[in-house]
Symmetry: C2
Subunit: 439 residues, 2 copies
């Protein structure tokens, strides 16, 4: 959301979104004048989708089906089982809600025919084709914020659905991804499902953070208070992870890796702790509820094995507490980002910006951020818990000079490749391809 808000400050913007709360629904259909945090005005249109359709759209198709396919999370011998209920959720949920979004976009294009349309993410893959049918000359760009899997994994979707997803995206002038890896996978799968002649116009634009915002946040009263709390309780060395409780984040294996580390390094008992700040996520979806259970069970198992009076190895906090996260960013000695797959992972960019301990970033090779920051992080394979245990050890043993050099390199990179650059890369790409002559 922070990232999207930044687009607002650049242009005259109308934001079209789903009405979620009852209050939202009351405002649906009106034009709401809003002001973004930096003072830029924008218009907000809220769409009141049918509630049943929205539940199918959001809780059956978008999450978990699309999310699980795009992060390779299914247990294919057993899940997903695409039954008649799923087919209905697709038709009467995902297709219907996309039609609703497309209709709102078409109405807005009546008011502002030259406006560029920016579609975001996996909820609206079908809308661009519908808009294109009504407004053949519309300029549109779609940004995909999550990984794009390789074609065989897309084949979990029945033929007509995977076709519609790819065809819908191809109706845009440009499709954007965080890394060349996801972009290249998209080109493969478009060719596989739409034919070898399909030539998508794509751009790699890695999302980033607003460094000034984090500089300011780091000194805010709320963060300073949270930081005092962390410092008062923390052992000599602090390993931090900050995530949503999402199965893609690999939290269970992270605890197991820490256990292996403690097994191999009894000399570090009482001296090291892992602080896991986890924002509970999508608890309406059974796979997410089960994953939260697995997280709690694994943390307890590791703590039961090792904890002593005055030392609990894993400090598990299930809460949405952003000031506490930023405080932990400042205090980490090791930041663990071991995602199974992750479109980008902004924690890996945010935390080094404000860290004050010359902390080391341990980073999954399957996180989008690895393409930019990998050379200064300790790379890990997310499935290799032994490798993660070794990386924790290596990070904790690293000399101060090397730690500082790596951290400062990351900081420099992120400051030079900030959120403004992400927006510019997209606008440049759209300008290049979306001239009337090229269509």
């Amino acid at each position: 959301m922070t990232a999207l808000r930044s687009l607002v400050s650049y242009h005259d913007v109308t934001w079209i979104a789903s009405a979620i709360t009852e209050e939202d629904r009351g405002l649906a259909g009106e034009t709401i004048e809003e002001t973004s945090r930096d003072g830029s005005p924008f218009r907000l249109h809220l769409i009141a989708h049918d509630k049943q359709a929205y539940d199918w759209f959001y809780n059956v198709v978008a999450n978990p089906m699309l999310w699980f396919v795009q992060h390779s999370l299914w247990e294919l011998p057993y899940t997903p089982k695409l039954d008649a209920a799923f087919h209905r959720a697709w038709e009467e949920g995902y297709v219907a809600v996309n039609e609703g979004f497309a209709a709102a976009v078409v109405r807005e294009l009546e008011r502002a025919p030259d406006a560029a349309v920016f579609f975001h993410d996996y909820h609206v893959y079908l809308a661009p084709r519908i808009v294109r049918e009504h407004r053949p000359n519309a300029k549109s760009m779609h940004f995909v914020h999550i990984p794009w899997p390789q074609p065989d994994y897309w084949r979990i979707f029945p033929r007509e659905m995977r076709w519609a997803i790819h065809d819908g995206l191809m109706a845009n002038d440009v499709i954007g991804f965080h890394t060349d890896r996801w972009r290249r996978n998209f080109i493969y799968s478009v060719r596989e499902f739409l034919g070898e002649d399909a030539t998508p116009k794509t751009v790699t634009a890695p999302i980033s953070v607003d460094a000034a915002e984090f500089d300011e946040l780091a000194q805010s009263a709320a963060v300073l208070e949270a930081e005092r709390e962390i410092v008062a309780r923390q052992p000599e060395k602090l390993i931090v992870r900050v995530d949503r409780t999402d199965p893609s984040k690999n939290i269970v294996r992270g605890f197991r890796a820490f256990e292996l580390y403690l097994d191999e390094h009894p000399e570090m008992h009482r001296r090291v702790g892992m602080l896991a700040l986890l924002d509970p996520s999508r608890q309406d979806i059974p796979e997410y509820a089960e994953y939260l259970g697995a997280i709690q069970r694994e943390a307890r198992r590791v703590n039961d094995r090792f904890q002593q009076s005055g030392w609990r190895p894993i400090d598990l906090q299930i809460a949405d507490d952003f000031p506490m996260s930023v405080a932990a960013y400042k205090q980490f000695d090791v930041l663990l980002v071991n995602a199974i797959f992750d479109g980008m992972n902004l924690v890996a960019k945010e935390a080094p910006l404000v860290n004050e301990q010359d902390g080391v970033v341990v980073l999954s090779e399957n996180a989008g951020a690895h393409a930019e920051l990998g050379e200064w992080a300790l790379s890990i394979n997310p499935f290799d818990v032994e490798g993660q245990a070794r990386a924790i050890h290596q990070a904790l043993e690293m000399g101060a000079g090397e730690r500082r050099e790596r951290l400062e390199a990351i900081r420099r990179y992120v400051r030079e490749h900030d959120l403004g650059r992400w927006v510019e890369l997209q606008l440049d790409a759209l300008d290049r391809v979306a001239t009337p002559a090229s269509r």
Copy 2:
């Protein structure tokens, strides 16, 4: 095994294999003179691997790790967890057993320096590189009988292991696959892991069956007796599946699809049955034991819902009974092959050859056989149980003329593309590339 035996009848062959039983181990190290079923002589060398090493090789690395990676079966949020035990199983099991195979091959090449070496399947990915180091001019071919996944799924293996697998295979003169799809995935992943300049020599050679053998089998006493048993018990319409109890075979979803069909077609209750002949497989491996439990539970659930006196919808037989399978091949009205991923699936070729009911083949688009037989089968998506239920309905409703045409086309194709052709395609490819000048 039948398929490999056919190679023997073409050439002067030494077969190098693992000693499994105690009797085998007693013969290890000796040259055993054997005779194949068609009377061709061959030499057999048995290798007595260290038992602990073999257990790690077979029950930790080859199955399930390599098998599960190559069939995309892991539940990535939870499995695999590659801990120190796995790293040891790789080093002291898979690597060690491959070294044992390579040493035996090198010894045989001392006796017969011009012999061509044929490596088979995922158990021996590392051996070709070791042989090549000792015998730089050896001629070798590797045939991969199972699917080759796309590079991102190979990334489940830690970097050094995925590199070793690809590098080991690349030490061969030719690498063979059942379909262009697996072959193309191999080319992708070789380029991704070994560099864009890597140019593997590959061949697509779809394995097939010995039609004469099945013609004979179909009239054997054992099959005729099994067939009488099936005919005595079977309902008006018979759906057959024949598989190992392997998670890749998608047996649970097949039962669920049949349940959906029965839900939607009460008029077919008592008139249709599913005969599932399942060979218990790899029960030393927990994932396989659990899958057998899931199969039994799902069959019972469906039967509990629908069965009536004199009619049990699913006849589940867990046994290794090949005559019964061939009898079922003769009697099916619908053959269900809904594999999640399958290198080839020979049931889809064997069963039509001997079928006497103008039966319809319902075939997964992820089975290798689909590349050859897809146009005459009813294609299904293995994850789409609703689609499978519809395909069962379509197959049972199909007119006799169309059924016969489709079945005869499959039969004609399989007779024209038999096991001999599979061998010839491989030998031709090896001849083409493995001339001294090309090395």
